[in-house]
Subunit: 175 residues, 2 copies
Amino acid sequence: MKAFVYIGTSLDGFIARTNGDIDWLVQFANEEAIQSYHEFISGIDAIVIGRGTFETVLGFPTWPYDKPVFVVSTSLKELPEAVKNKATILSLDPNAILQQLSLQGFSRIYIDGGKLIQSFLKADLVNELIISKAPILIGSGRALFGEMKHELEFEHTRTFIQSNGLVRSFYVRKR
Amino acid sequence: MKAFVYIGTSLDGFIARTNGDIDWLVQFANEEAIQSYHEFISGIDAIVIGRGTFETVLGFPTWPYDKPVFVVSTSLKELPEAVKNKATILSLDPNAILQQLSLQGFSRIYIDGGKLIQSFLKADLVNELIISKAPILIGSGRALFGEMKHELEFEHTRTFIQSNGLVRSFYVRKR
């Protein structure tokens, strides 16, 4: 069972502006970025997103995922009609989520959404961390990392530099 | 007149633990890191440090700098006897510091110390940002970046990967 984080941040560590905008990041989404994401997602068998990310995705013109999607929420009881056959609600903590997905035969899980990622890091359940750093300080916003009481050591495995200056580094949890 | 920042951070953006410790970073200071620092510092003609960094440096067995050093402080009136001929106190804001150093014939300034770096970024006076990222989340500590009301775009110029996984990226301010 492996959990992956694949995310873009500003140089100052934000994944979105305070209002959720990622315009500053999207400008770096060139062909290299799209290809990299496809390579990543081809190795994934389930996607777990937080409630916030789910709300964002609902605003997209089409459903962006072609893998089983699980929405983590304690408050959401039912999915909107349009996406009912596209996602499943999970009201579990990170450890239980991975156990549940393992029982269902999944083994490579993409964790997406700021708060969800922080909860998986706090539980030390992230195996690979892939961070794409945009060469811009946005000054304020939603931070990728939150306070933790413990350290987590990773091994750097590779870094790719996009032609537009995005630096994508791959890290594997050292255990 | 160019101001440079050359600093190491954790993956979660801290430059020191809350108590000031940088043990987690020092473990990555191999030959490559030392050579890189020497290359950087050879292109610098003055070093400007904050009061906190100055206090830290006073605890070192020997004075670590071989360039003119300026200590930025509004409260410090006099330097300790042992380092009186090694540094100069400046009680000025970032713009005035650069003007003053320019008048003295300096043109490539190394800005060091967390709060000082933040004040130079807030004034948009940093021309080059060189960040060495250690592959570890330390969970809490002193952050490199602080809140800013404006964005700052940089151009990524190069990235070096140390054999021990430290990722050093060079950024130049885009104007």
